[in-house]
């Protein structure tokens, strides 16, 4: 090992990442950031002090061993780095791109106390992309059991739960209402932020674990949650249907043509490929001057999508100030670079009719911030007499979402008064064997938080099913499985299967001994 690094010996500046020029990128849907090259990643990895406190691990909602994987990068053992990340996070290529690192791991980075923090997200993405390019997948040895697990919703929460349950040996089926799996990753996040090929790759990895995907299945209506347990033979069910029900402001003019939710714009553009109309049949509302109300990540996506669809001018209207803006810093930064006009402390009052059922603009009012409300953010109140008009032909509302009502309408699950599913600390719901997590429990949050919830629910589900959690560690390239601290080799006559050492070729994984549970897929990976 090299000599000990100090804050003075590490590269002082954060390694910049290459990005498409703002002028160019607003004309295409290709990814904005092209990610680190090898030497850039190595340089940035050197900036990690490998400090003993490891505050970043606590800062990560799923507790990735961040210094561990960064050290593997410095050793140029990228496969090793991938295995460390995937021990806790299934989707490094996704999370490296969409996590708000600046409020999580990077916010507490020791280097960040003096210099700019280590670009953990970019390094995670580098490893995730290397895995996709190399066709790596972290498939452990899976011993199949007799349990059948159903997952409702194929978004990040469902995917994380599905992976853990498949690894535990259950036959896992994920149900998705849309024609393609991925949930919000697919319909919500645009290609320039998260390309579809990345989602496809991550879904393939799940399929390799034996997870079965059933699209075009609207759970609740095609069959109920109760029927999954009573009739379809599922032993446990996880609900991760998200909070996709868009909020509309209820101001005059909000049902005019030319007023829509960000969800609708993004779904038409991303999932339905409306941006390629007429090659794809789904039409898209294209505005010349577009106003997006809200300043979260969804709002940023809606604005930047609008630009790429050919809008001349895009406005961001937010009732609080830039400090309270809930979007990732990088997204706001990118949006600014691309020429979005921000109107902080502004709230729409009325959408104005063009006389033909469309929009000619909207009237808004200036706001000021007073004492904090229950969310801890300073409360905006309108300034009397400060109304003004903005001319636009499309108004997109991205002011939050509510719980999807379908599961609530069709099952006896206990909901809270806002319509979200009630779950305890272990994410167990009011019905035995039914677990829920992600936005449908907490309300709108982030991809990584949903994944964390999916993993937590998987842990509870395993306890509910009586599955023992094998504790494993690496020993000279040989994986020893321990049950409750007892080394299996000492206590019974079961032949110990030697798991592949980290860094070995995937061929070793798919040998006969590590065959997939055939009940789940009917075929080997």
């Amino acid at each position: 090992m090299a000599k000990k690094k100090t804050i003075r010996t590490i590269p002082q500046k954060r390694t910049p990442v290459r990005e498409q020029e703002p002028r160019e990128r607003t004309k295409n849907f290709a990814e904005v950031s092209t990610g680190y090259r090898l030497e850039e990643a190595l340089n940035e990895a050197e900036r990690c002090l490998l400090c003993p406190d490891q505050p970043c691990i606590a800062g990560c909602p799923v507790g990735i061993n961040i210094p561990g994987f960064i050290q593997k990068i410095t050793e140029k053992n990228f496969r090793g780095a991938y295995e460390i990340i995937t021990a806790t996070n299934l989707l490094p290529a996704v999370c490296g791109r969409v996590c708000p690192q600046e409020t999580q791991c990077e916010a507490v980075c020791t280097v960040g106390e003096t210099l700019e923090p280590v670009a953990i997200g970019r390094l995670e993405r580098f490893v995730g992309d290397a895995a996709i390019d190399g066709g790596w997948s972290a498939i452990p040895y899976i011993e199949s059991n007799r349990f059948k697990v159903g997952i409702v919703g194929s978004g990040p929460a469902g995917m994380a739960c599905a992976a853990d349950m498949a690894k535990a040996g259950c036959a896992v089926t994920v149900f998705e209402a849309f024609q393609e799996p991925g949930g919000v990753l697919r319909y919500g996040i645009p290609d320039f932020r998260l390309p579809n090929v990345i989602i496809d790759a991550e879904i393939r990895n799940l399929a390799k674990l034996g997870v079965k995907f059933e699209c075009n299945t609207l759970v609740g209506r095609l069959f109920t949650i109760e029927q999954m347990i009573d009739e379809l033979g599922f032993d446990a069910v996880f609900i991760g249907t998200g909070a996709g029900y868009p909020t509309l402001p209820g101001i005059p003019g909000d049902s005019l043509n030319g007023v829509l939710s960000a969800n609708e714009l993004l779904t038409r553009c991303n999932l339905m490929r409306g941006r390629d109309f007429p090659a794809y049949d789904t039409p898209l509302p294209r505005g010349r001057r577009v106003a997006v109300i809200g300043a979260g990540n969804t709002a940023m996506d809606a604005m930047r999508v609008s630009l790429r669809l050919g809008a001349e001018k895009v406005f961001c209207i937010y009732r609080r100030s830039r400090v309270e803006c809930p979007a990732r810093t990088e997204e706001v930064h990118h949006a600014e670079e691309e020429g979005i006009e921000f109107h902080w402390l502004t709230n729409p009052v009325e959408v104005l009719d063009d006389g033909k059922g469309g929009v000619r603009g909207f009237r808004c009012i200036r706001m000021e911030l007073v004492e904090p409300d229950e969310s801890g953010r300073r409360r905006p109140i309108p300034i009397a007499g400060s109304e003004f008009e903005i001319e636009c032909d499309l108004v997109v509302f991205a002011i939050g979402t509510n719980a999807n009502p379908i599961i609530g309408q069709t099952s006896k699950l206990k909901l809270n008064k806002r319509g979200y599913i009630e779950a305890d600390d272990n994410l167990a719901t009011s019905m035995a064997g039914i677990f829920a997590g992600g936005d449908i429990v907490t309300g709108a949050a982030t991809v990584i938080e949903a994944m964390g919830a999916g993993r937590k629910a998987a842990k509870s589900m395993k306890a509910y099913l009586g599955l023992r959690e094998p504790e494993s560690f690496y020993n000279a390239g040989e994986k020893v499985v321990k049950y409750f601290g007892i080394d299996e080799r000492e206590k019974n006559f079961v032949r110990i299967r030697v798991a592949p050492a980290p860094g070995k070729e995937p061929a070793a994984v798919s040998s006969a001994e590590h065959a997939m549970p055939t009940s789940a897929t009917g075929k080997n990976p």
Partner: protein, 299 residues
Amino acid sequence: MAGFEIVGRQDFSEVTYLLEIRHPMLARAAQPGQFVIVMARPEGERIPLTIADFNRGAGTITLVIQAVGKTTREMQQSCRVGTTLYALVGPMGLPSPIGRAKKVLCVGGGLGVAPVFPQARAFKEAGAYVFGVIGFRSKNLVFWKRKFRTWCDEYLLCTDDGSAGIKGTVTEGIRQAIEKHPDIEECVAIGPPVMMKAATEATRPHKIKTVVSLNPLMVDGTGMCGGCRVKVGGRVKFACVDGPDFDAHQVDFDDLTSRLKRFAEEEKAALERWSENCRLGRVAVSSPSGAGLDRKRSA
């Protein structure tokens, strides 16, 4: 995924056709008033279609489609027995409440005859006296006359031009029905927005509880996009999860009609482009029943 197999097809007229699709689970779950979303091919759009019938024994559902836009015309050509639909999801929406009304008026206008059929049958099965009124523009567009009749105690066929049944729109039928049976407690009216609006106004003075099934534009059908929002009693509702059935006397039909035109330009352009391609033989045309389309020799 192999898709969803079309096992039956029937052409009622040059524009109206019926598809029977195998989906045993969906056939089992479907209730009167619910709808499905169909994608004919991966590049297609998601279109909502009300379930016209379901056969739990055979495991099939029936859709009746009118070839009006690009997608429905294309489906008219491509959807043959033995072919598959890329996506079919449902049943969506709240099932129609089949209450304990003793005397019910079931009104279907044009294509609306199909979705009102399962409701008429459900009312009949629940023991109600069912008065059916179905209306078409003219005789050559009439379909399901007998099928509908078997579930009605009394029945009236109206055509705009008088070529079959009584002359006049369904409103005339409704008037006659109410005149004869002032004790009608409930009315279900399904059809084009203009027809539903007229039916609503016909029952309003008699204070007959009236239910309409709304058909706004939709993307997902699961309450996610808000594209299908309608105004009912001054409040915004999503037709996909709060409906599609609503209290007719509360519905803002003008708002519905206006919102249906959201993509009128794009739809028109798409249809024109498609028709032009058909004419030039750039798309495979398999024995179209639609008029004005050349039959191309197969390449």
